[in-house]
Amino acid sequence: MIKSLKNLEGVKNIEELIQDIINSRRKENIRLIHYLRLYTDITSAYEDLYVKHRDQAIYYLNKAKRSGKDFDIKKEEKFMEKIIPMIEESIVLIKKAKRKKKKPSIHQMHRVKANLLTIQGICVIRMLKRS
């Protein structure tokens, strides 16, 4: 009787363990989806900027900013703290470029381009960092 109870306890522990693994995988999948979404929005903004669709680029950057702010995973916070100001700065610079009479192309927006490439890179590196 005692022996079978112990076995039941063991089964319960295994169930908990499996549940933990499932939860951890879910969390990891959510993390990956967040980064994929961010990466995709930043890539879209970059491409729009390249063909001078600045409003559309700003739209995607705002979308990316919202995604970054919604990224509710503790260990990724420090990366969002790095990414969000870069998005905000890029939006400001694109808006400033829009106001100028002589419109700069992506070639003249090295700073925005560097920001967007850095964000893409952070996304890729974080995706490689599987927990």
Partner: protein, 266 residues
Amino acid sequence: MKWSKYFVADRAFEISTWVFENLEIWDSHTHIGFDKDEMNMSLKDLLKNMKKYNIKKSILFPLNDTRDQTFNIANDEIYAAYKKHPKKFIHFFRLNPHSKWKDEFNLRVEQGFRGIKLHPRTQNFDLDSASAMQIYEKAEEKNLPILIHTDRGLNEIGDKIEAVIKEYPKLKLILGHAAFVDMDHTIRKLSRSKNIYFETSAIAVFDIFDILQKVEPYSIVYGSDIPYVDMEYSLESIIHIADAVNISMKNLQKMLSGNLRKWFDD
């Protein structure tokens, strides 16, 4: 021994403390001063960053400074920074081929500058234009490496650079941003040249992946392009990708400083 096993997650971007403690890092692409696009970097901030990320030495040159046509003021600032911290910097001067660059060239050679920065897009010249060719000739003669911008705004650069090194076979070139606009072609044409380095700053992480896979380790140098890209991220990306493509510690060391040391070690 596979170095990536020493990775620890104790920094914002998880740069390996082992890499920090055991490998010497030289940054081949740093700026101080002011840029037309309003970007700026002070000497103090650059040194602070170098200390924080354990960068022992940096190639230093001006931003796209518009205070004068010849970059004389900005080059003076580079010289002053070098005189103040001679062990920290390899000083490069910037030239504008459309200006009266010969006087500026001679002055900087006399001052002992170690190389030249050229930016075909912002100074609006072709890689193989007559004035650029004159600068290559003088640089080859004085054994001054040129870091040349090979980023967006230029096309089909592989053929042009090949023509340049055929004309000036002893000229040493650092391809800033690794010729990513024409990367495959440039790698096919030039990756075996001992006088050409592919520099990794401000390019997409997938391009770093390509470079590390397709170019020999003796032809790759790490660069950040600070203040446009921070040293932490740029280091993290090259270290991660090196791990992903199984680059040995010995070869990583070449990319992080060994290759630059070959050209600039005193």
